[in-house]
Symmetry: C2
Subunit: 534 residues, 2 copies
Amino acid sequence: MKNTDRGSEHLSKPERRIRNVLYIMSDQLRADHLSCYGHPRLETPNIDWLASRGVLFDRAYVTSGVCGPSRMSSYTGRYMSSHGATWNHVPLSVSELTMGDYLCGSGLKAALVGKTHVKPDLSGLDRLKMENDDSYTRLIKGGFSEVDRYDGHAPPGAESGYGGYLRAHGYAGDDPWNDYVVSGERPDGEVVSGWSMRNAKYPARVAEAHSETAYTTDQAIHYIQQQGDAPWVLHLSYIKPHWPFIAPAPYHDMYGIEDCTPLIRADHERDNPHPVVAAYQQHRESLAFARDEVVETVRPVYMGLIKQLDDHLGRLWEELKRLGRLDDTLIIFTSDHGDYMGDHWLGEKELFFEQSVRVPYIVYDPSGEADATRGTVEKRFTECVDTLPTILDALGIGGYDHRIEGKSVLPLVRNGDAGDWRTFAVSELDYAYRGARHTLARKPDECRGWMIRTERWKYIEWSGLPCQLYDLENDPNEFHDLGSSPEHAGVQDEMKAHLFEWLKSLKSRTTVSYQQVEDKTDNDSKFGVHIGIW
Amino acid sequence: MKNTDRGSEHLSKPERRIRNVLYIMSDQLRADHLSCYGHPRLETPNIDWLASRGVLFDRAYVTSGVCGPSRMSSYTGRYMSSHGATWNHVPLSVSELTMGDYLCGSGLKAALVGKTHVKPDLSGLDRLKMENDDSYTRLIKGGFSEVDRYDGHAPPGAESGYGGYLRAHGYAGDDPWNDYVVSGERPDGEVVSGWSMRNAKYPARVAEAHSETAYTTDQAIHYIQQQGDAPWVLHLSYIKPHWPFIAPAPYHDMYGIEDCTPLIRADHERDNPHPVVAAYQQHRESLAFARDEVVETVRPVYMGLIKQLDDHLGRLWEELKRLGRLDDTLIIFTSDHGDYMGDHWLGEKELFFEQSVRVPYIVYDPSGEADATRGTVEKRFTECVDTLPTILDALGIGGYDHRIEGKSVLPLVRNGDAGDWRTFAVSELDYAYRGARHTLARKPDECRGWMIRTERWKYIEWSGLPCQLYDLENDPNEFHDLGSSPEHAGVQDEMKAHLFEWLKSLKSRTTVSYQQVEDKTDNDSKFGVHIGIW
């Protein structure tokens, strides 16, 4: 990764400083499927280029390995246990401030192109009887100012302009997304559904130029062009490489199984696994990905979708360069979680294996203070709660420490004093909505898991069930669960102590700032109250 | 306490069942200052009468030993770490549902006479741009429908009708509360301020019939009379015996120091105490109550204020009896926290000694199912978070388990199956607003304490500071802190494990009900999403 070309040749202006923020999220992209993170066959030169100009965070974790809670953490800067939106179907409480709330005090908006997975707390809002004005609108959109919200699998027309765009480009019908974007065409001309993974190998019926990734990139470029020299913050949030797994030509058959990295799974992982892992291995998607034909069909297409994403990011970089925006734009590239693709006999995401909770995290800071770290790899732990405080730090917005639990990574990027950086990463899971709950006969509040990942260990605590423990130094593939190993009781206690400290540190006093606390400390007399006077 | 008269003679109607709720809170009333809780000289026959007809909970704890967080727990049914209003100056988040929210779905209101200490989250509300209608009004009042909100020490006229009431009764001036209610008159006629505790021995300048306790009782009786046979829920919330410590005649000199229970303090408690206790011992009120003259002056008046409260409760019971309301009204009597009154060399409240966090808790259920427990003492742990679920249970309102962390005590009162009842009580403290924070040089988020109280032990965990431990079996006065005792390391670990489990069990997924979780569990296909299909 170390790049000897320090890569500031593109930085033309005499003064390089952050005025804009481009916060790019892909969906379901695992870290090890980028060449800068070590994939041997999937070349992602454009993402690599960003890493060569910025800092690649090698140990970046999401607060939960599933879209909703992970994204809500990114948008609020708070852990899942704090924001409470613990799974995809759980609305974000009206009391949670998001990116847009923090920015609006500075006259900025959090513009959105693409996906957020925000579910507004409509029943909470209903109780509040808000006026149906801009505040309400922003609130139900999670604080974002929508250029075009596009969450993928939605009823046609409900959210995005993509449906109309498709029709305008000749994809007729009520649901062109279903009929063209996630449908494929067999060589014999038969139209087949991308929801069935057996069809992943066929090209989608949408032209590449009109596909989701292309459309989303176009929207972002157009937005950035429109801003001219006015400062902006854009969340560019791609739905891909998220399912349905079907790619437009030529990406549908760009890779074969020979290009895939070996499956990270061992036969013994199916013998007496941890009860929650066992239950997840029985989920439909896991049973599917346990079959060779599924892996062999889907993995190459997953890679194709990533390649396509990388190509469009190249197009975006070119445009930023042309507009001079590489001199004044902070760029963060990451993902909301990964995908097992058959590893550990699992499909999809959740749980706490690296394939699910470890994500790419690349930060490009145009300013001179960051020149010393360009092209370097940072091993200290980053979590998705760091994104919002990093953005606010970059824009000089403060006063949020009483709510936000993440930390700005700018001190790391600028080689500055980052203080006592965290020594472990935390991730959480609520499997109440999953079949695993029924398999394990648990109540909806008994389905919680917590991961503590230190330099060497990954420890997982489960509500009412045994723990898991992996020695990442000697078992980087997480094949050997030491959760019931008596000789590791000491390590388990140490990890439990980390979790205990973390639980105690969660921020619940969110309605007053530290300054407000300071102003009122032992100052009751100011308010006409005189206690303890003889 | 066991009362052989089972006390159902007053229950006249053939059908006794709960239709109304009278939830009585006194402020700063410690449990051991009632005769039914063992005070040898302070006779409280009316509160005792309630206990003889109901169940006296002997181990009732508040979630924090200070008004704001304790009351917010009572009104939300949630622990302090969950509702986030961690001290008196901290507004309750707009997302927290209170008693009034739960009742309104059943066409009931939570009527309020007296104090709540609710601080509305005005900045949170400002962000929401609510219409200034009933919802907004209820929200800024913590969900209560105010008959008369009276928080005591408030600017005249800001909250209560008490100011106008006083003026109508001849107490002229801009601030009759200050000039008459909390001012005393010396034998030589000089008017003195009740804010100075040296003046506690003089009678207040208000006639007893116009005092806070009398006025508050009048308001409650009037409200109950007005309801006729319509069902109601009333929170009758007395400000007394809270400071300023000054009582109207004849209560100002009804007791002398000879009537007071001995001070619970030992000289060695000032030698090398726990750092937080040491810091609290240096607060102004603690230094004052460390002086004999303060204790000897204030304690008898504190007792007088309690005696006055008991007399007015007798008046209230009579009225309830006359109206037939003893047949259909659930009555809960409790307090929001206690007062050290010099015990442990402390004044006021907070920390975790019994005098602060243990409160009276008496539940009277008119229904026949409760006859078997009348006059009994219940030793199982009750917490103030139990009040709201008890009220909702009594009224047949359900579906709140995903938010409310307390448990209905009705199964205990009705001698029914209470399931696995809690084996420990929890209390918390946030001392960020107190001088102790400066003394200990801590940041606003480093001032947290947690108490675990089991049958035998009281364990206290502090952020970044050593723990405390008391053996209540052998040291009921909590004189010997075993927090640094190596031989008690095992007990400390056990208590820490309880706290760990409790922290993990806090309810953060509050925007969906358990039923909503059930309805959507592994049901994605219903919403057009088909994952894991080959």
